[in-house]
């Protein structure tokens, strides 16, 4: 940051506000984490207290790992999230490139049609989607979820990415064409790296709703072997009794992979890439 321009008072106020916000945002996560390591009684008696020798207990984690096939749920969630993100980014970027780079009949119409998907929630079509999945025999497979989440994520991905791709220098693409690169090479080697920050944004936007979704796993893939983490954790929330130890432990473990994915993508967001390509 520029020293000469930032006044210490302003900097202090700014950092104060940011730190406060961070604390508020992290507080629930913190509470979940500490309580997942406490005995049931301690959770209710002193929810704010840190676990100590007396209240420390791993009973929640033990229940979670014993109950059902937690590792499988975990794996299912991971496959669905990563798979959906991969297809959203791949198809989204390809569609965005086509829309921003090539002049063809119906280009604008197509872009508008895709943008429409941003405004219409996919859940409205749940019944039709279920019928389709039944007809194609995809019910209770992870593919059902991946396909639905890909469809759900594509409109916004295309919209954001085509904006960014329009800004990629024409000269660079043309230089590639003159040097004999194929359109695919130009897309994958020249254009994609330059819109990496936008891809990371799209990934982060899509990742958390997919990871946390309960609706589609419940409807399209409720079988034991295709349950996702969110759906699997529901067994601990009963109508009359809720096993809070298990719920909190399951939640704590569910945070971890999202955190890892987030760190991977946000590094891409932050990295000041490829200046000096043009100008």
């Amino acid at each position: 940051m520029n020293k000469a321009r930032s006044k210490p008072v302003n900097a202090l106020a700014m950092h104060g506000a940011l730190i406060l916000y961070t604390l508020i945002a992290l507080f629930p996560v913190f509470i979940i984490l500490i309580n997942s390591f406490k005995s049931r009684r301690a959770i209710f008696r002193e929810p704010m207290a840190l676990p100590d020798a007396e209240s420390f207990s791993l009973i929640g984690y033990q229940t979670v790992l014993k109950q059902g096939d937690f590792l499988l749920y975990f794996q299912n969630s991971m496959i669905v999230t990563v798979g959906s993100l991969f297809f959203i980014l791949l198809f989204g970027a390809m569609a965005a490139y086509a829309l921003s780079e090539y002049r063809f009949r119906g280009n604008t119409l197509m872009a508008l049609y895709l943008a429409l998907g941003i405004m219409i929630p996919i859940r409205i079509g749940t019944v039709a989607i279920l019928e389709m999945m039944v007809a194609t025999g995809l019910v209770n497979t992870l593919w059902a979820l991946i396909l639905v989440y890909t469809a759900q994520g594509l409109p916004l991905a295309v919209f954001i990415l085509s904006e960014f791709m329009r800004q990629v220098s024409d000269d660079l693409k043309n230089a590639g064409r003159i040097d004999g690169l194929s359109e695919y090479t130009i897309f994958f080697r020249l254009v994609l790296p330059l819109v990496r920050p936008a891809m990371a944004t799209v990934a982060v936007f899509n990742m958390i709703p997919i990871w946390n979704d309960l609706w589609f796993p419940l409807i399209l893939a409720p079988a034991e072997e295709t349950k996702t983490l969110t759906l699997g954790s529901q067994v601990f929330i009963g109508q009359f009794v809720t096993d809070w130890n298990a719920v909190l432990s399951a939640l704590s473990m569910a945070i971890l992979p999202v955190l890892v994915l987030y760190v991977i993508f946000s590094r891409q967001l932050i990295r000041g890439i490829t200046s000096g390509a043009v100008k």
């Binding site: 043309n174 390509a277 043009v278």
Partner: protein, 331 residues
Amino acid sequence: MTALSLSSVNKSFGDVHVLKDIELSVEEGEFVVFVGPSGCGKSTLLRVIAGLEEASSGEIRIAGEVVNTTPPAKRGIAMVFQSYALYPHLNVRGNMTLALKQERQPRDVIAARVAKAAAMLNLEDYLDRYPSELSGGQRQRVAIARAIVREPKLFLFDEPLSNLDAALRMNTRLEIANLHRALGGSMVYVTHDQTEAMTLADKIVVLRDGRVEQIGSPMDLYNEPVNRFVAGFLGAPAMNFFPAGLLSPGDRRITGLRPEALHVDPDGPLEVQVSHVEQLGGDTNVIAQMQDHQITARLFGQHAITEGTRLRLGYDPARAYHFDETGARLG
């Protein structure tokens, strides 16, 4: 042999007719410069030649072959862009060799060509750097080197110097002139800077609104412009225009006088009021008003003329140009 020939090339984007019946030929080893005001279609013409845009009609021949449907990489051309357009993920060597690798040239050929081009443009010390680690001038030299290694039949330059500062621009201009001499390649060069056009070109093509106004050597265009547009476009400061009727009532023509054709003459026919004086050391530019018309005179040497004085300017009638109302040159 002709390196490039265009016959009745047209280009439209939808309803916008950008290039209109372009006829042009570039001889082997010739340096041809396209000039014209912004938006007249210079870049579009270059891109049509390169194959980055398809011509709506007309025929494009490079080294005798019709290339209308040939993809850019197979046309035997190399292009240097205004924005450099270096590949950000490759270092200088990678940028220079990419096209050769695509053409599947043998390794020793690639190495030899890179060494030669790097020596020509003083890039030997930078071969392992990435574009982001180079200055603007160095990047532009890499872009030129990338074109040279391909040993193309035709070089295309689209305003390669316009992102450089004035001093660097002059140096790079000399470098390009030297390169042309050393390589003997055919070059097409786009600029809207008339100094670049005058100093580099064997042949200048003046474009306006997608039409060729005049083609000729720099001195042909300077001495014998076919119309008022070309006369006003080439030469700095620009030619002065005023109705001939101011000097001889009844005359409907327009008179054009180059600033360097004017001199201070107490008996001269032009009576002006000085509004501004530019002292350049070697020359003095006097900007003055003659009734409603601005007249610029370029006087050799240093002159102590103050603003606001009345002056009389004279000229050699043989150096005056005359145009009709439509701008066409008369006699």
